[in-house]
């Protein structure tokens, strides 16, 4: 499919003095699945509403397949929209809901029926054609909402947290189903969510929004492995952000504790070191090696993993300093024989210096 290209330029939206959206440049390629991720209030829903035409931007433009739609009313944009609340018309049957978009466009009765049968088959709900929305489960309503938005073959499908009303199991199932449907129909999809797992699992690319701006955009691997800002690292669940000063290309120091890293920042630079919980290991204090020393302050077993918290100790034990930062560590359980160090024990925290991300402030 060649259509479905979305471009946003210099977009600003807000009420009065407050700007809630400020996007310099955003492009979505035809057939791409883009997740727009961010905390609540970051402007992601506003972005969707601007693209859909429900919020008039104060500046900038929205182009779809090269056509400037900034001031086109929603009903002439030919976009599909899936709502968090599904918004199925409660007084219409599933079939009536699905043919609505074609009916208001004046499509022939026969054409409507064929297409309804097609999209019902696509979402696997052929037996439910004559049901009322209230007679369907949440997951089925979700599928009908998706089918309704796809029925008249929109160029772009916008999804506003469509899975957040489903329970965890159904949600995972719908994630993969939605992704398969997207691959099959090839429609460009812009998927708004606050759930980082969901965003990473489903998307070709993820745009992370913070306070109305795009903090970072890239493939899930890219954005997860190389966060550009502490906010991105934190939002994607890095766990430990340690502020430190660069000493040399192999060492930074935080509150008197040396941490081994790899960085090209010159000495003296203020940086944030991202220590992912699952990248960290504990070693015995007696073993000399790389990595800072710390005292275990908390240990808990949670099925397949252990959660351990370690308070960093300064290199120079004689020095009196403010208490060191607490680092969370997630260790795989090794079975009956092994358990990590107990509370109160002093250990050495180790990690592969190359795998740790250093973000320049």
């Amino acid at each position: 499919m060649t259509s479905g290209h979305v471009a946003v330029h210099g977009l600003k939206a807000g009420y009065g003095e407050t700007t809630i959206l400020d996007i310099d440049q955003l492009e979505v390629r035809p057939g791409e699945f883009l997740s727009v991720l961010g905390p609540s209030g970051c402007g992601k829903t506003t972005l969707l509403n601007v693209i859909a035409g429900f919020v008039e931007p104060t500046a900038g433009s929205v182009l779809i397949d090269g056509r400037d739609l900034t001031h086109t009313p929603p009903y002439r944009r030919n976009l599909g929209l899936v709502f968090q609340s599904y918004a199925l018309f409660p007084h219409m049957t599933v079939t009536q809901n699905l043919s609505y978009g074609m009916k208001v466009r004046g499509a022939s009765k026969a054409g409507q029926a064929t297409r309804v049968a097609e999209v019902l088959d696509l979402v696997g709900l052929s037996e439910y054609a004559e049901r009322m929305p209230r007679q369907l489960s949440g997951g089925q309503q979700q599928r009908v909402a998706l089918a309704r938005a796809l029925a008249y073959s929109p160029t772009v499908l916008l999804l506003d947290e469509p899975l957040s009303n489903l329970d965890a199991k159904l949600r995972r199932q719908m994630q993969s189903e939605l992704r398969q449907i997207q691959r099959r129909v090839g429609t460009t999809m812009i998927f708004v969510t606050h759930d980082q797992d969901e965003a990473l699992t489903m998307a070709d690319r993820v745009a992370l929004l913070n306070r109305g701006r795009i903090e970072q955009i890239g493939t899930p691997q890219d954005i997860y492995r190389s966060p550009r800002t502490p906010f991105v690292a934190d939002f994607l669940g890095a766990g430990n952000l340690v502020r430190a000063t660069v000493v040399d290309s192999h060492t930074v120091v935080s509150n008197g504790t040396s941490l081994p890293v790899t960085t090209d920042c010159p000495g003296g630079t203020e940086v944030t070191v991202v220590l992912r919980r699952e990248q960290l290991r504990l070693a015995s204090d007696a073993v000399a090696g790389q990595g800072p020393r710390g005292e275990v302050t908390f240990r808990a077993f949670s099925g397949g993993t252990w959660h351990v918290q370690v308070r960093l100790l300064p290199d120079d034990t004689a020095a009196t300093r403010v208490p060191g930062q607490v680092i969370s560590v997630e260790l795989p359980d090794t079975g009956r024989s092994g358990a990590p160090a107990e509370e109160g024990e002093v250990v050495r925290l180790t990690w592969g210096a190359d795998s740790v991300v250093v973000i320049q402030e």
Binding site: P73, L81, A87, F89, Y100, V104
Partner: protein, 291 residues
């Protein structure tokens, strides 16, 4: 052990309803029942009720022109007022729910409820001043040479309809705006995103979903319009063929109370039937959507 205790607590649960129940019994059910008995009593030459029972008053109400015409006129007036209230009230209710500006919403609320907050006497004399022979409306009509001389605007069917619509409009707007505010905004956006123009969204989504509000608003407005008499009386006088005015006339001027009672009951029955039909329709509609 649990049985009697539970029964006692269940009886106790009814206790808070007693004052309201007694109030209703004393001031509604008892007078209504005695009115029913009165309407069935035979009368002497001075319209004094006698012992025994007769359907003579009901025959008179349903066959005599005096009452029958009034009843037909009143039903027609109430129907027109109901339709007018729906048509005029709907856009106002919509604006009340969807206006972005809080100031505008406040102004609408004040204008809407103002007929309810002013005394019926003040309001009615306001109408009289407006519609009098030398009032602004007549002066405008004469001044623009639409009519040769001042016309009687105070009595007559159009005035009754206008005045009663004004009085009952708040009830329509309040019920309609409640219904409209219950329609999730997402339905409207869904319809628009699916390609429906505003008019199509209104016809296909808003109107069907507001049926419950239309039904309850219509029931309230219709039954109030059926019994209204104070405002038409104060604006246009007692000589109009309105059922409420006829009852007033018979009961307090001719002193034919059994006949007035029979007329009251007939009015009551017509309203009940209308409300029953409307609410049945409303229930049927809502069951389709919600059960």
């Amino acid at each position: 052990m649990m049985g009697p205790l539970r029964r006692r607590t269940r009886l106790l649960a009814w206790l808070p309803l007693t004052p309201g129940g007694l109030f209703l019994l004393a001031l509604f059910v008892v007078p209504l029942f005695s009115l029913l008995v009165l309407s069935l009593r035979p009368t002497d030459a001075y319209f004094d009720p006698q012992q025994g029972f007769t359907a003579a008053q009901y025959t008179e109400v349903l066959s005599g022109r005096y009452y029958r015409d009034a009843l037909a006129y009143t039903v027609e007036m109430a129907l027109i007022v109901t339709v007018l209230c729906a048509v005029v009230g709907y856009p106002v209710a919509w604006l009340l729910v969807h206006a972005r500006s809080a100031v505008l919403r406040l102004v609408i609320v004040l204008v809407v409820v103002s007929p309810l907050l002013t005394s019926v006497v003040v309001r009615s004399f306001g109408w009289r001043a407006l519609l009098a022979a030398n009032g602004p409306v007549n002066r405008l009509l004469v001044g623009t040479r639409l009519v040769a001389g001042p016309v009687n605007l105070l009595t007559g069917p159009v005035t009754v309809v206008v005045v009663v619509t004004h009085v009952l409009l708040p009830f329509a707007i309040v019920t309609l705006s409640t219904a409209l505010s219950r329609i999730d905004d997402a339905y409207l956006r869904a319809s628009s995103s699916l390609g429906a123009r505003p008019a199509a969204t209104f016809l296909n989504v808003v109107l069907p979903l507001s049926v419950p509000g239309l039904v309850s608003g219509a029931a309230i407005v219709f039954s109030l319009a059926m019994g209204i008499y104070v405002t038409p009386l104060l604006v246009g006088g007692a000589n109009q063929p309105l059922a409420g005015l006829r009852v007033y006339d018979q009961a307090l001027r001719v002193f034919n109370q059994p006949s007035a009672a029979a007329m009251s009951f007939t009015l009551f029955a017509v309203s009940l039937v209308a409300i029953a039909v409307l609410t049945r329709f409303g229930h049927h509609w809502e069951r389709r959507i919600h059960d």
